[in-house]
């Protein structure tokens, strides 16, 4: 089971990084979304995957029985999902506004903040 998850994570990371290497914003964004999910699966796998009992304390016990699943990664992933989702939403709007204003989604053409061929600063007066 761990091996399957590890391989899935590897594929997710590969696809995410490959897309992020693109020059086009929209591909980069899809890459970031996949990358975020790769990390979520990494947390899930890092918490060890067991197919045993769910982490619920029985009514007459004080603690979890041995061999129950680890509940912590779910809390961590939930946090990470909320964060990455909100960031992705913000980035989509930002990319769209940038496309509207700059008329391109090619990062090579996005040179408004750092214009090409600015020339040297004055060397004396």
């Amino acid at each position: 089971m761990d091996l399957i998850f590890t391989l899935t994570v590897a594929v997710f990371f590969t696809v995410g990084f490959y897309l992020m290497l693109s020059r086009h914003n929209i591909r980069i964004l899809i890459g970031i979304a996949i990358f975020g999910n790769a990390v979520n699966l990494t947390i899930f796998t890092a918490g060890r995957i067991t197919r045993l009992a769910p982490p619920i304390i029985p009514i007459d016990a004080d603690a979890l029985a041995a061999g129950t699943a680890n509940p912590l990664p779910q809390a961590l992933i939930l946090t990470a999902i909320v964060i990455s989702f909100s960031f992705f939403a913000f980035l989509l709007v930002l990319a769209f506004r940038t496309y509207q204003e700059l008329g391109t989604d090619d990062t090579d053409d996005m040179r408004v903040a750092e214009p090409k061929n600015e020339g040297l600063p004055p060397l004396g007066y």
Partner: protein
């Protein structure tokens, strides 16, 4: 149900005694900006109250930081665990000298930026939520400095990151959208890599509490891929700190926002990356720091030199400052690479200096632009005759950032150079000196052109009264000169902060009182 099971011994899972009233001060630097931020969002359209609330909240947070620093200097690290769950299960806030002192410097810088924003941010910017974003960002920054849990550190990183996006695109100019796209994507990538490293660390150690990690790491580091983890953390934090070769987001974006926001970014945000590097490597993984020290030293030297060479090639004053920020990050990483208490304390002292001086330099650029109507060195000129006070501030700050007396840059650089020579890396000392020389050339040219050069063309710009700008610069100039003339107290705090990193026993005892070491 609860009564039925009253036989359960809660002391196995929870801290039963209530938190002492004085200990609540640890939450002050986070909770005050958080409440003020929420309040400002609620009254977004009542713009006349915004600045007052923001400045008041930052003053309170500053007082909280002063109290917290005094407390940790006297009694050692202070811990409060949320929800009273026993650590490592509950999320701990652990303030030590490093976190409290850097938080103090950052909050002072934010206060001055809020002061300067009175002239910089108009009613439109306020309605867009400048002060709300500012408050939430400072809550995230202070949370990052104070938290004692590495996953929580990630959460605070994201809190200040999303708020910084808001500050960066305020106004939605074309340049800002361009800069913000690069800043947002690369910084999100950096924090997500940090989360990846955290996930793998959790998989290897089964804990996220920093004190617990520091305790467990020496025992298990040979059976886990600790070097790989450390490299991943280094890459993620180096990206946040804008170290070469992953620094390109910074010069692409830091010159685009309003100057009050740029000053805060330049002063504070990269230092959080440096703080995180010091925390993870100095405290959690000292042996892996030794493993990576050569790499970190090369990265540090390259960041220093290439950063300042970028500054030499720029015409826009704000872009020059962006590259100077990068160069400063390299200087602090040199202290990290040395791995000794002396190196760490030099880096921490340099961080105090850099937070204040970089904020002041951006504000100075804002004042110059207000007077001359341009940031470009081609036309910026004649300030010496028209505004001698600007010339005086510029002179002081340029001395500070180049590391010359009587300003603050001298002593941290002396400490770092001594530590490099004592640590057997004289070439690193040479790199620090070379970068100082180049910084002096870059900013000396700014002084020559902007201040000494007679006015090249009569200014047609509307002159903005620099009164508030002078006040903001004066508030920063006091500690800057103080650090240069009487560095003793600052150096002591930095040394204590560094000692708290290398000797973790006090930090661990603060979280786990039952551990005897």
């Amino acid at each position: 149900m609860a009564i039925e099971h009253s036989s359960v011994d809660l002391s196995d899972a929870m801290i039963l005694e209530p938190t002492a009233l004085a200990d609540w001060i640890i939450t002050a630097p986070v909770i005050i900006p958080l409440i003020a931020g929420a309040l400002l969002l609620m009254i977004r359209h009542e713009t006349r109250f915004h600045a007052g609330i923001a400045i008041g909240a930052l003053l309170l947070a500053l007082l909280g930081h002063i109290g917290l620093l005094a407390r940790v200097l006297e009694t050692g690290p202070l811990t409060m665990t949320m929800g009273r769950w026993l650590p490592p299960f509950g999320i701990s806030f652990t303030a030590d000298v490093l976190g409290a002192s850097m938080g103090l410097a950052a909050t002072l810088s934010a206060l001055v930026c809020a002061l300067y924003s009175l002239t910089d941010i108009g009613a439109r910017g306020r309605r867009y939520g400048f002060y709300g974003f500012l408050m939430l960002m400072m809550a995230g920054v202070n949370g990052a400095f104070i938290t004692g849990d590495i996953f929580n550190l990630y959460v605070w990183f994201e809190v200040f990151l999303i708020s910084s996006f808001g500050l960066l695109v305020l106004g939605s100019e074309r340049r800002q959208l361009d800069g913000a796209t690069k800043y947002a994507i690369l910084n999100l990538l950096g924090t997500t890599l940090f989360l990846t490293a955290t996930a793998l660390l959790y998989g290897a150690l089964g804990t996220l509490n920093m004190a617990d990690i520091a305790r467990v790491m020496p025992e298990v580091q040979d059976s886990i891929p600790a070097g790989t983890l450390a490299t991943l953390f280094f890459f993620a934090f180096a990206m946040k700190a804008a170290a070469f070769p992953v620094n390109f987001w910074l010069p692409a974006s830091y010159h685009t926002p309003r100057i009050a926001a740029a000053a805060l970014f330049g002063g504070v945000l990269t230092k959080i990356g440096v703080y995180a590097l010091l925390r993870t490597f100095g405290m959690l993984m000292p042996d892996q720091l030794t493993l990576l020290s050569t790499l970190i030293a090369w990265v540090a030297a390259a960041t220093m030199i290439i950063g300042v060479m970028g500054a030499l090639a720029q015409t826009d004053l704000r872009r020059i400052l962006g590259f100077v920020v990068i160069s400063g990050v390299g200087t602090m990483m040199a202290g990290l690479a040395l791995g000794s208490v002396e190196g760490f304390s030099g880096a921490i002292f340099y961080a105090f200096h850099s937070i204040l001086v970089m904020t002041a330099l951006y504000l100075l650029a804002g004042v110059m632009n207000g007077l001359a109507g341009t940031y470009s060195l081609r036309t910026l000129s004649g300030l010496y005759t028209s505004h001698p006070l600007v010339a005086a501030f510029a002179f002081l700050l340029f001395l500070a950032v180049s590391g010359l007396p009587p300003a603050s840059g001298l002593w941290p650089k002396v400490m770092l150079i001594r530590a490099s020579i004592d640590g057997g890396a004289p070439w690193l000392a040479f790199a620090i000196l070379l970068s100082s020389l180049l910084t002096m050339l870059a900013l000396g040219r700014v002084f020559l052109l902007a201040v000494w050069r007679p006015a090249v063309e009569p200014s047609t710009a509307m002159v903005v009264s620099p009164g508030i700008g002078y006040a903001a610069l004066l508030v920063l100039a006091v500690p800057i000169v103080w650090m240069g003339v009487y560095p003793e107290p600052f150096a002591n705090v930095a040394t204590k902060a560094a000692a708290g990193l290398t000797d973790t026993s006090a930090y661990i005892r603060s979280v786990f009182p039952e551990v005897v070491q």
